[in-house]
Symmetry: C2
Subunit: 343 residues, 2 copies
């Protein structure tokens, strides 16, 4: 078992100094051609690779981006990560992914862990618990220590930093408008409780669209779901005997769950009830009927977030104080779940 070979070992073997080896590998003119070749041949033979840890320590940077997301088993977040990886790899950065599991404590721990030497900056979507607690000290401390942070999707208005979001309200409005435009009048919304920033925004967009069409908002058309993973019974209850002709769901799961419940109640989609979702994930694409939805372009978000972060990481000090908020376009993806026959 040959252990990792270091400069020191090469130096000893070749009977030169460590610095000579280091310089030779870098093709420094300080070193004679002869020695350079000898060293390089030897290094290649023993498959020498500089130790990243030592380099990080020396350079005071790790060339690593820390990504913290609320859930790892989640299609949207993984598409974002895909985008981050793309840019990061192009620019020679490594990516460390940690999941907070929607726990505030785990978010703090992960952040502190990565902040103490493992990453140069962060791309972060905050945990549900963090949004509830409104405790952002860990993020602020990280930024105070000079590490840039880019927030995405579930952002925090109070924190001043780069952000990448979609216009959730506008997307929701577009969705609702689409339902209105195909003739729906009694539109229900399945959304999350208000402390989830994106949920609240989407609710607002829904309300805005109704107002623009002069349709009064009805309390009974709005369901705010707390426990996302066990939404079925709530939705079942809510939809029972309800006189509606369309549903706007703020995520995929709510949309397909509603579809299933309606199926059970003998309603046809889209003829009896049209459904529109949010997030263009696997479910929307493959469900029958396929679901019209608002695409969030997760990969683009990741790309933009990574670019913002790397800009800040590599920019000079002057631009450090300039923060940007990038708003990614959403767009409506027409599918079967809103194709009314009367169309």
């Amino acid at each position: 078992m040959k252990q990792k070979v270091t400069l020191k070992q090469i130096a000893k073997e070749l009977d030169v100094s460590i610095s000579t080896v280091s310089k030779a590998l870098k093709d420094s003119v300080e070193i004679s051609l002869d020695t350079r070749q000898k060293v390089k041949a030897f290094a290649k033979l023993y498959n020498y690779k500089p130790n990243n840890i030592a380099l990080s320590l020396k350079n005071r940077k790790t060339k690593t981006i820390g990504v913290i997301i609320p859930e790892i088993v989640h299609h949207f977040f993984t598409t974002v990560i895909g985008g981050v990886e793309k840019v990061a790899n192009e620019k020679g950065y490594n990516v460390i992914i940690c999941s907070s599991n929607n726990s505030f404590d785990k978010e703090v721990i992960n952040m502190e862990m990565l902040a103490s030497g493992s990453a140069d900056g962060f791309i972060l979507s905050v945990a549900k618990e963090t949004q509830l607690k409104k405790d952002y000290h860990h993020i602020e401390e990280t930024m105070n220590q000079g590490m840039p942070v880019v927030l995405f999707d579930r952002i925090i208005d109070e924190i001043v930093c780069d952000k990448v979001i979609i216009d959730d309200a506008k997307g929701a409005q577009t969705a609702t408008n689409h339902l209105l435009s195909i003739g729906c009048k009694k539109i229900a919304i399945l959304t999350t409780v208000d402390y989830i920033s994106v949920g609240k925004l989407r609710t607002n967009g829904y309300l805005r669209a109704l107002r623009a069409y002069d349709i009064p908002e009805k309390e009974e058309y709005i369901l705010k779901i707390e426990d996302i993973d066990n939404c079925e019974s709530e939705i079942e209850e809510f939809l029972k005997d309800k006189d509606i002709d369309a549903i706007f769901a703020v995520n995929e799961l709510f949309a397909v769950t509603a579809a299933k419940v309606l199926n059970g109640y003998g309603k046809k989609i889209p003829d009896d009830v049209a459904i529109i979702g949010f997030t263009d994930g696997i479910l929307s694409k493959h469900f029958i009927p396929s679901l019209t939805t608002i695409s969030q372009h997760g990969e683009d978000m990741g790309i933009r977030a990574a670019k913002l972060l790397i800009d800040k990481l590599e920019g000079d000090e002057t631009m450090t104080e300039e923060y940007r908020t990038v708003i990614i376009d959403t767009n409506l993806i027409h599918r079967q779940s809103t194709k009314k026959n009367k169309e």
Copy 2:
């Protein structure tokens, strides 16, 4: 902007030596109680956190597990990661996730990158391209350098190391048996090309089940798909006018695609054709009809893999030469897509 505070700065501020600070923080009896308290108070005030990089360099270990998977936007792999994270966090390890994107080159690059100081060991599912190329030098080199590797799911028989797999053949056999047991006779299989290890194994299991029932295997019932992401046209072609009463699909996507195609052909599921899938993902759960499937227990795989790796990492030298292969149980999840009326 207060920069990260180091031992050196604390030492200077308090006018003691670095080692005194270090020892004081560790509550060493060498240091007077008075000094200890002073140092600790100061450290707390300035939120001192030891620099992981420096620690890694000193200890020659990073307390980090490298996970390399073929795709990040993939439900099964993310569940495995979930399991890894669970164990890793419990045992004080960090997790770095990289995706090879099914590219051999990216797998090699990621591995070398992490191997040169960033991780102590690997949990790996190899890229499609790697399986095709049969070039495993990067894995072998990593192991030669003393870094343990645990392979999971898409493993490589030729490499001797810890492994975590499911019994793919047995799972496939169970699936096929189930179809047979509900009275199906003309069972098609949608599988991958043979160089994908798990695909081949599942195909074998299917054949074994048929043989056990004395049903001759028919070439025309077998579809080996190369391009997974564009399987629809192939499946459509394959299923056209085919006289079958059941389909075994080796993954979710094939299963739902087949279901959609059959829908288009006016066939009812499960009455005309029963369908069984592999992997218990989001699609299977939420599709209508919900899909009977073989659960792979991704999270368990992750948990076991992480345990194997950490055992090796923390075990003494003697056990280093002992390799285990853990086989995770699969189980059949009954859902609607195989509920024949005649049952």
